[in-house]
């Protein structure tokens, strides 16, 4: 029987499949549909210190092979999350990763401190890459020093695994992976969404109230896989890969490119019962290829002798 468990720093996951932030609410929304403890992990919606209303609708629009979203990080704030959601998530045995947001270094640190003091948070994913709000950390995520500063600031206040989530909207994502590693990150996750827009040509207006939004879904997968592969060459810390994963084969592309775990976002909207399918598919693949542990697959891309790049 294949061993699906993986290790992200000090964090043990039952299997490599995690629900991506913002695509799974606070997890509890899915609790009576299935057993949350069967997932590798649940990354909850991005949280600031305070509650946020987010952007007015329309907040999403479908595009070829994907979708744009500009939710604007609506959320209940970290304190209400800890008080009202976390206990139930613990009770259900979910491996909870919190997507940490901030407008300032202090806010990132404060949110992280509160989460470290709470019971039942397995790791912190630092959202320095939300393209949809000015103060959403993208100013940190698009600057190497900004990335370094956020990670080191949070490193000081928590012993939880910290996982900066990188934006794909940069020239060289691997340099951001290195900055994260240098600042003491335990792992990195990528990719967040691609800044994009769609226009209703009949009204000549943007289709999203926020004008721009983030592109996710199968459309971006080949770019995300490339970025994971580039980061794999650049850093030693584990990578959590995501971007358009719909099937086990899609997930395997990320794992073979160098991801130790993967997250599924948009595909969870299309099929909320996707998890058993992914898990069984991976077990089956490992049996067929006689692979004992997922770790034996990570980064095992084989490049025939010919010219690379």
């Amino acid at each position: 029987m294949a061993d699906l468990s993986v290790r992200i720093g000090s964090l043990d996951l039952r299997n490599p499949f995690m629900a991506a932030s913002g695509c799974f609410g606070y997890g509890l929304e899915y609790a009576d549909a299935f057993d949350l403890s069967t997932l590798g992990g649940v990354v909850v919606k991005g949280l600031f210190l305070k509650e946020r209303e987010g952007h007015p609708p329309p907040r999403i629009v479908e595009t070829p092979g994907g979708m744009l979203n500009a939710i604007g990080l609506q959320g209940i704030g970290v304190r209400r999350f800890v008080a009202e959601r976390l206990p139930e998530l613990r009770r259900l045995g979910a491996t909870v990763v919190v997507n940490v947001c901030g407008s300032t270094l202090d806010e990132y640190a404060e949110v992280s401190r509160i989460l470290s003091d709470a019971e039942g948070v397995a790791a912190l994913e630092l959202n320095i890459s939300c393209p949809n709000i000015k103060e959403g950390g993208i100013q940190f995520g698009c600057s190497l020093t900004g990335t370094y500063d956020v990670v080191s600031a949070i490193r000081k206040v928590t012993s939880l695994p910290i996982i900066p989530k990188l934006t794909p909207n940069v020239t060289d994502v691997s340099s951001f992976a290195r900055a994260s590693e240098d600042a003491g990150a335990d792992a990195i996750s990528l990719v967040n969404t691609f800044l994009a827009m769609a226009i209703d040509v009949e009204t000549r207006r943007p289709k999203l109230s926020n004008v721009m939004g983030g592109l996710s879904g199968p459309a971006i997968r080949p770019i995300a896989v490339r970025m994971v592969w580039e980061c794999r060459q650049a850093v030693k810390i584990p990578i959590i890969g995501m971007g358009g994963i719909q099937t086990t084969a899609d997930a395997l592309e990320f794992i073979i490119a160098g991801a130790t775990a993967v997250q599924v976002g948009t595909a969870n909207f299309v099929d909320p019962f996707i998890w058993p399918t992914l898990i069984n598919g991976l077990t089956d693949y490992m049996r067929r290829h006689a692979i004992a542990r997922v770790a034996d697959l990570v980064g095992r891309l084989e490049i025939p002798g010919k010219e690379h790049a």
Partner: protein, 277 residues
């Protein structure tokens, strides 16, 4: 608890160039479904389109013995997904997720029930009408369309003993004009609060807003079933929010899990984005 059923399509009945009724073999969902709840339908297997689309559960489909074998949706063709559903053929299988959302609560007698439907907004009222009939609640359906072509299923409702008031914008059927006109007239005729009656509305946002207005004016409770764009239907994406009153301002709530049915007076209509037909 919602279930996802890869449901066989039992029939696709075209009612007009852009309206059709699709019935799905999904007894598991139909058995649980309450009036006003909805399903998320995956209109195509692949990417054309990718996301599911929300549809009110229209009829409970029964076999000869009256056993529930499935459910139907009333589909209006407006874009990629609804066009696919307009073209589906019996025997095809599509994923149907449901039942989802908070239902209409059918009032018991002596309370009266007035339903107000605009176009495809008729959908949630088939099962609500059945529930009301069961309870013996006397009910009226105010039903507006652009023209005679858009008015369907009248006998379905009359057979249940529902009183029908039909309006069309071009006057080709029933009273000419908006459906809110007869509604307002009859409400004033009744005089404020004279008898207990509750209003249920579904249709284009401006229509629902108007109904909310006349209802408030005559001190009646109004429940509306909203139809925002929905990405997941399960509370996962926060795409479907609508503004509900909070202090002086408003607060966005997810209509897929806190709705789609809302007390009209709790909504901040000025802040509402209108999608719609």
């Amino acid at each position: 608890m919602p279930v996802d059923v890869l449901a066989e399509i039992l029939s696709n009945t075209r009612l007009a160039p852009d309206y059709n009724v699709v019935t799905f073999r999904a007894p598991q969902i139909a058995d649980m479904a309450a009036p006003g709840q909805f399903v998320m339908v995956r209109c195509a297997q692949g990417l054309d389109p990718m996301l599911r689309r929300p549809f009110s559960i229209f009829e409970h489909v029964r076999d000869a013995e009256g056993r529930i074998v499935g459910l139907s949706i009333l589909n209006k063709r407006v874009g990629a997904g609804t066009s696919r559903l307009y073209d589906v053929t019996a025997g095809e299988r599509l994923s149907v997720l449901g039942p989802l959302g908070r239902p209409f609560v059918p009032v018991p007698p002596p309370e009266e029930a007035w339903m107000v439907a605009g176009g495809v907004g008729l959908a949630p009222f088939a099962s609500l009408a059945e529930a009301l009939a069961e309870r013996g609640t006397s009910a009226t359906l105010f039903y507006g369309g652009r023209s005679a072509r858009d008015i369907y299923y009248e006998d379905f409702f009359t057979r249940l003993g529902i009183r029908l008031v039909v309006t069309t914008e071009d006057g080709s059927r029933g009273e000419k004009g908006r459906v809110t006109a007869p509604l307002e007239r009859e409400l004033t005729a009744r005089g404020p609060g004279s008898t207990n009656l509750t209003i249920y509305a579904c249709g284009p946002t401006p229509m629902m807003r108007a109904v909310a207005g006349v209802g408030a004016a005559s001190g009646r409770r109004v429940f509306v079933s909203l139809e925002p764009v929905m990405g997941c239907g399960m509370g996962g994406c926060y795409s479907c929010v609508v503004p509900v009153q909070q202090g002086a301002g408003h607060h966005f709530v997810r209509s897929c899990i806190e709705g789609p049915v809302f007390d009209a007076h709790s909504l901040v209509w000025d802040a509402m984005t209108s999608t719609g037909h």
